[in-house]
């Protein structure tokens, strides 16, 4: 079963790549290594600051394409993220058991209730990073710039925590989520058993490539 279509997977892959570059160069610079070229900077023969700036504009472009050319998917994403169903509380209450055994409480959404919270956090942190990043590039310096640096750094920490949590979930370290990674990788085909375990009510919504 194909849970996400090709364009959605391509969007996710593009976001992943640009986030890796931004996170890598961002934390490299944040750890006081500016002026010491990273491996990527050596490969591209470009300072890390410039790579970070260019990758940031790429993120702006990808996000812009996502909410315009991908408006249908963006609408579905927003609607399914905002939904609240009876029983969601029970899903959260049972989550610790489900994460280790795979026996989650049922839910009725395209995303499980935990994913919905994660989606909101991802969008909030990415939006904050984009807005503050554009401001940093535009201002170049001054008191407002200093404020934006603090906001940018706080959002970076938040997004890093989210990405680490996301990686823990999709890696299968938590037994209940084994197989979830297939939804966004390769052809996006997820075994039916995994679909029933993680997204039991979204079986009728699937595309077949």
């Amino acid at each position: 079963m194909v849970r996400n279509n090709g364009l959605t997977r391509a969007f996710h892959a593009a976001m992943f790549l640009v986030t890796v570059v931004l996170g890598g160069t961002g934390w490299w610079l944040r750890s006081g290594r500016e002026g010491r070229p990273s491996v990527l900077a050596d490969l591209l023969d470009t300072p890390d600051t410039e790579i970070h700036r260019m990758a940031g504009w790429a993120l702006v472009g990808i996000a812009g394409l996502g909410v315009t050319l991908g408006v249908r998917a963006a609408w579905t994403f927003a609607r399914e993220t905002a939904r609240v169903d009876r029983g969601d509380g029970r899903w959260f209450a049972r989550w610790p058991v489900g994460a280790f055994t795979g026996r989650f409480a049922p839910h009725r959404g395209h995303f499980d209730p935990g994913q919905r919270l994660a989606n909101i956090a991802f969008v909030a942190s990415l939006t904050t990073l984009i807005v503050s990043g554009v401001a940093l590039t535009t201002l170049s310096g001054g008191p407002t710039f200093a404020t934006m640096v603090r906001i940018h750094r706080a959002a970076t920490v938040a997004l890093t925590v989210l990405v680490i949590g996301h990686m823990v979930v999709v890696s299968g370290l938590l037994p209940g989520y084994r197989g979830a990674w297939r939804a966004m990788v390769g052809r996006g085909r997820v075994p039916a058993a995994v679909m029933r375990r993680l997204w039991p009510s979204s079986g009728s919504h699937h595309h077949r490539d």
Partner: protein, 193 residues
């Protein structure tokens, strides 16, 4: 995600949104390729003073012989500090490598260069950078000779050369950074084992 779950107005507007998306991407690309000079001016106006921004390397003097490590002292017409203060700072580039991202960051007037520079002649270019690390046009360059005997010596300007003549740059104080202060090298330093 199925098409029957998507409101019809979104489907009808897709072509127009596509054009808008392309336009926005082009706008983003244009902004990304913007002239650095604009950001320089923006930083200046926001950070206080810009058009006549200047920097000079007061130590070591051009042509001086230095040990390793050695101090570089810069005089800037604007306050400098760490980027998160919003102030400008200074990049020190060595031997003309200004495009490769290999440089030292200077947040205070005095900076100790402790990177491994081979003995011999080196150029040091000091450039005022905006807080966002874009470079301004304010820059100064000196050429120094890193002496072999100075390698491994202490900080400051231990190996700075002195030809014995008073060139008028002595500030009158008795400190080791005076141009005409006696030179101490590793060879005659009694504490150098």
């Amino acid at each position: 995600m199925t098409t029957d779950t998507i409101p019809r107005p979104f489907r009808r507007r897709r072509a127009r949104l596509g054009a808008a998306a392309l336009a926005s991407v082009l706008a983003v690309a244009a902004a990304a390729c913007g002239d650095d000079d604009e950001s320089t001016e923006a930083a200046g106006s926001d950070s206080g003073g810009s058009g006549d921004m200047t920097i000079s390397v007061s130590e070591p003097s051009d042509g001086a012989e230095v040990g390793s490590p050695f101090d570089v002292v810069v005089d800037t017409s604007v306050d400098i500090g760490e980027p998160d203060t919003g102030l400008h700072h200074v990049h020190l580039y060595y031997d003309g490598d200004t495009d490769e991202g290999d440089y030292d960051l200077v947040y205070e007037p005095t900076f100790t260069v402790d990177r491994a520079l081979d003995p011999g002649e080196h150029t040091i270019e000091a450039v005022i950078a905006n807080a966002d690390h874009s470079l301004t046009d304010a820059r100064d360059e000196v050429t120094v000779t890193v002496g072999e005997a100075g390698a491994g010596a202490g900080g400051g300007t231990p190996g700075q050369s002195d030809d014995g003549t008073d060139d008028g740059t002595d500030d009158g104080t008795d400190d080791s950074s005076d141009d005409d202060a006696p030179t101490t090298t590793a060879a005659d330093d009694p504490y150098d084992y």
